[in-house]
Symmetry: C2
Subunit: 281 residues, 2 copies
């Protein structure tokens, strides 16, 4: 595995790889790898000849007062894990290289970016779409793998890839969970013991929703109330949103029909955790 920090060097390597007929698979990350990230790398390996993993804690997607500074970092451990999971090139650009003085260009997706996490975190998705656009231009992938845990992000990335004619296949890989069902997240490390135990309710509330739907319930408010009462029964939980939406347009639904996304964001102490499930009704 090679590690590159220089943008132009990464770009020339990508050009060279393409010229030689290689299919480039790309996994953009903010590092502090868990099994979720590693599953994306292995998926990329299946789908391409050369796997590039980027490791960049992107300041543009953190709002003022959010956890950019304390976001967990461990590049040495990440490097070892990446190497063992199919990564061929680890790309670790610096903040000054990515956003030099005078930087002024942003990519935004209307409508999809202002609901759910976009409502709680203004500017977050503009930061995500901007950095992904830059990374696509640097890494020049044929296929890029994103995790289903960030469901809204996945939908938005598909939109920019299509709208801006990237010609990059966007593959969405399933959520990887701890044995008790908690979705893996770098932010789980913020949880104390009590919060960690209580956070399991996120997955349980999604399972409850699936159960209600399987039993024929189609009224969104009934399902949301059932989920919310499970979650609020936990001392340390503070709901940000529990939403049921059309899985493609992200429009909220009153009655469930077609491909639906049930998504939630809940704070436990200083950790803001998200989880979701997609179903067809």
């Amino acid at each position: 595995m090679r590690t590159l920090i220089d943008i132009v060097e990464m770009q020339s390597m990508a050009d060279g790889l393409r010229k030689q007929g290689n299919r480039i698979g790309f996994v953009p990350t903010m590092g502090f790898f868990h099994e979720g990230h590693l599953s994306l790398m292995r998926k990329a390996k299946e789908l391409s000849d050369v796997v590039v993993v980027s490791l960049f804690v992107n300041p543009a997607q953190f709002g003022p007062g959010e956890d950019f500074e304390e976001y967990p970092r461990d590049e040495e451990r990440d490097s070892m894990l990446a190497m063992k999971n199919g990564c061929d090139v680890l790309f670790v650009p610096g903040v000054e290289g990515m956003y030099p003085k005078g930087y002024a260009t942003y990519v935004q997706v209307n409508d999809l970016s202002t609901v759910l996490c976009g409502a709680s975190r203004p500017g977050h998705f503009q930061g995500v779409t901007t950095v992904v656009t830059k990374l696509f231009n640097i890494v020049k992938p044929h296929v890029a793998i994103f995790g289903q845990k960030d469901a809204q992000q996945a939908i938005i990335i598909r939109r920019i890839a299509e709208d801006l004619n990237y010609g990059v296949d966007i593959v969405i890989a399933p959520i990887v969970r701890e044995s008790d069902g908690l979705a893996m997240s770098s932010r789980n490390m913020y949880l104390n013991r009590k919060e960690r135990a209580e956070a399991v309710v996120l997955h349980q509330s999604l399972l409850e929703a699936e159960k209600l739907i399987a039993a024929g319930e189609r009224r969104a408010h009934v399902i949301r109330e059932a989920m919310k009462s499970l979650i609020t029964a936990k001392d340390s939980a503070r709901i940000d949103y529990v939403s049921i939406l059309d899985a493609d347009t992200l429009q909220p639904l009153d009655l469930l029909q077609g491909r639906i996304l049930i998504a939630l964001a809940v704070r436990f102490g200083k950790a803001r955790l998200i989880d979701n499930t997609i179903m067809t009704c």
Copy 2:
């Protein structure tokens, strides 16, 4: 010369050309070619192996009530002129292909886009930067040629190419003028005989500014007033702006120093014409 209308076909051809080691030169246009456009094509030919010219009247860069519908079009003549001036591939995408139903992604450049033409034409530069981003992803050029006549556009395009890591050389070619000094523009065809005669004042006012500066004048307001009184002496002229700015940051200047841009936009009847000069003081 080949003519392509399909986006994916253009993209595969660009991939193939790159794989074979060709340098792709790109001239994005809205068609209705005059000598200005043709000079860009010939410049592209000098700088690359394969010249792609796009012809797309981009609705996203026209505001409500602007001249999108009546913007002059003559694809047959354009095709012939392109072929004679070094174009290898003429790319003529359709509006539905470029902006399909559900299209939602826009690229914007802060600060640079809200002054000068951006102040008179809100949303104009977002339309320009978005379509250029898309065209860069479709045509995959090594070098792209823009005209100095759209000075603000040229500065903004350089910014997005650098900020979004396109790795595309942006070359700015000089303004091409009619024998009486009027800058060539597809919109000159909107002028009636009287307006056409009076529009020469745009270039004359720039020459007057250059003369004053050569004589040692450095006060921006003195130069602007001299230009404005020349222009307003013409019956049919309606000034949109006459500005003297830093040529890199587009910040207005009180005292001229360094690389400066003198730019103007003036309406003659239904034509809104622009012109400019760059000098070093």
